[in-house]
Symmetry: C2
Subunit: 287 residues, 2 copies
């Protein structure tokens, strides 16, 4: 049971965590924190949080669990603002989509990564933003990755794990570096392709006509291009090394594919498409 | 009203057309044609077609409307097989996803493109195949593009248009070349990226773990990679020029994006992501 949860950044991710814990009866009081008054008032009206403060130091006071759900670019400032204001025994965790940068931010803000900080990442979300988009079942049957460091307190990890499990999530642990590689492949790279494709089409002549003929497959394929641009700028910069490497490799492969198509090499095309279909049918629809 | 409709290739596309016309009361008899006995028996059992033949010449006999819904690589053979067997006044149309190659196939098979052949393309589909996946509302509120040539009989175009409108579709006309450019951008290129991405991930070490962390966005993004590999090989070859050009350009742009990420140019990234999000929100979700 969490006595007082502080949610720094009451958006889709933080708001859904608050709702899920509330619904599970796992939290007594929830204090929100953010810059926008309107969003926080809405969060109170929706019953997502009980009260709020615009000051991180005030919001974390007396909290036994602190969740930081802000864009990656704002993490360091939040950590700096909470330094010296955390309650004895408080556990801090976050929801950032890249972990090396968050760990670096925490180390810089606190002067070393504190044992009570558990870097985390719930693999869930939609392309919507704000507390109004949040819902209690967002994490149900979704994976949450925790990336504790050697110096992280196992008791703090256990408490963060229990919090996510109370939301219906399946929690796994891996290293910071491995997390960033896996996410570059499964999330960051697809987002770059979706943003890039829609942008390329938007820059074409007669682009309104082009989009008019976009069918269902295109809609699904490009849905993630409606995601928050600021959040994704931050993710790109936070995971720049793994992501730029992977995207450059993929660009090279697409150049090869263009050449395979240009020379009408049907056998090679079929081989690629069959391997891809088999992998997707097996791994993605199978789970 | 169509008296006898011949559907060559009773899969998702042909089967859904048959179901839709049946439901609209716009067809008296439907004759199916294909190679697989099991699929055709199933089509009869499901009430999609009334009877079938494995011979194109037999299936089109006495039909006033012939729909060819086979993979692009099989078009020419079907046209050759129907030559000399069409009824007086019969109209022929198709559902191929690329039009220049179909027109070329028709010209070669018939010795010139016949005035009663109306090249067409319903912009609809799912990643499923076979008559079991077909359903009557597939074309409702979807677009169908017809690409008549100067020599095409306007009366034939009007009949094909009426057929699709009876299925609830919105019919537009454009040139063969323009169709192939538009579809390369909105459909063929996204499919290449989805196939390419899933294939790239499948070739990574520990790929089962990678796929395990693929979240909702990845599922949507890669759904089209579960499409029929043979069909897509044929589309690539049929639209090789437009598609390979577009894919090569896109690969170049992704290489640039990788460099933008590597040098952590947040302003430029934000510009791209904002333009893409605005375009998608405006064009895709708005329609």
């Amino acid at each position: 049971m969490i006595h007082r949860l502080a949610v720094i950044g009451v958006g889709l991710i933080g708001g859904s965590l608050a709702r899920a814990l509330r619904e599970a009866g796992q939290v007594e009081e929830i204090v929100g924190c953010g810059r926008g008054r309107e969003n926080l008032e809405k969060a109170v009206a929706l019953g997502v949080i009980d009260r709020y403060s615009h000051q991180v130091a005030e919001a974390v006071a007396g909290a036994d669990m602190v969740f930081v759900g802000v864009p990656l670019g704002a993490m360091k400032g939040v950590f700096e603002a909470m330094r010296g204001h955390l309650a004895e025994g408080a556990v801090v965790t976050d929801g950032g989509s890249a972990k090396a940068s968050v760990v670096r931010d925490a180390a810089e803000a606190f002067g070393g990564v504190p044992p009570n900080f558990v870097p985390g990442h719930p693999i869930a979300g939609t392309e919507k933003n704000g507390v109004e988009a949040s819902f209690a079942s967002l994490y149900r049957d979704r994976r949450v990755i925790l990336t504790p460091l050697p110096e992280t307190d196992p008791e703090a990890v256990a408490r963060v794990r229990a919090m996510w499990e109370a939301c219906g999530a399946e929690v796994t642990e891996m290293s910071v570096e491995h997390h960033d590689e896996v996410l570059a492949a499964t999330s960051h790279l697809p987002h770059m392709l979706a943003f890039g494709l829609v942008d390329a089409l938007a820059r074409m002549k007669e682009n309104d006509e082009i989009f008019r003929y976009a069918a269902g497959g295109f809609r699904d394929f490009t849905r993630i291009a409606s995601s928050n641009p600021v959040m994704w700028r931050d993710i790109c910069i936070a995971n720049a090394d793994a992501l730029s490497r992977m995207l450059a490799t993929f660009a090279e492969e697409m150049k090869d594919l263009a050449e395979t198509i240009a020379r009408r090499d049907g056998d090679h095309l079929l081989e690629i498409f069959e391997r891809a279909k088999a992998a997707r049918d097996r791994y993605v629809d199978g789970v």
